[in-house]
Symmetry: C2
Subunit: 118 residues, 2 copies
Amino acid sequence: MQRQPSRLELLQGTLELIILRTLLAGPAHGHAIAKHIQRTSEDLLQVETGSLYPALHRLEAKGWVAASWEKSDKGKRARCYRLTALGRRQLAAEHSKWEAFSRAMGLILKPAAQEEGR
Amino acid sequence: MQRQPSRLELLQGTLELIILRTLLAGPAHGHAIAKHIQRTSEDLLQVETGSLYPALHRLEAKGWVAASWEKSDKGKRARCYRLTALGRRQLAAEHSKWEAFSRAMGLILKPAAQEEGR
DNA sequence: CAATATTGAATAGACAGTCTACACAAACCG
DNA sequence: CGGTTTGTGTAGACTGTCTATTCAATATTG
């Protein structure tokens, strides 16, 4: 019996965009980012920690986010990430790339009128 | 000087959906499928042969398409692919998965009203 | 006939990014 | 004390796309 995931797998290449977009709402630490994504997507998307932390490290290495150790609400050490100016530009670029891709998919997927009936 | 691709890279996981959708319009061989995708997406998407043929083989192995050797219009040997009944169901499933993912992305990306101004 | 372009299929190997599955630590709570 | 929640992190498997290349048949042109 195979398990069927009710949640979607992330399409590769979208995670960084999602994280950057999430940080636009304000600085946050990893755990909070993951929860925010899940909540905002109405539980459709869930980011695994094995994807999240490597992604955050990549973003930091590229200078799109900056990080510092803080205390979370619950008093735990937490690495707080915030968007840099560079990250803001990157967010805009990736957002529009997503829009273009999404539009392209729409063009291909839309019913092309009287092609199905033959 | 880095080259910047005017075309988008495919998001991993979308190619099989695109191919199945293309074959819904009727049987076709690899080359024709690639051209159709590029044309239909208004040149936004381009499938490389190194992605296309492995994908077609995967689809065939899974029984979602069936293949046979034919002669193309230009008189060349060409492997003609057509959608199977199973492939039709798979297309529907993957299409709706795409819709869900796309919707989730929309939820995350949309301006969340007065979150940006702080 | 030879050279070249076009059509078409195919593979090898690099590579990126997500996943599963862990490990670890600190705080709080019964 | 032991369990749960919160939080960060890594290792390794895996999937699928990409680049780059090969091969072959046909058509065209000199």
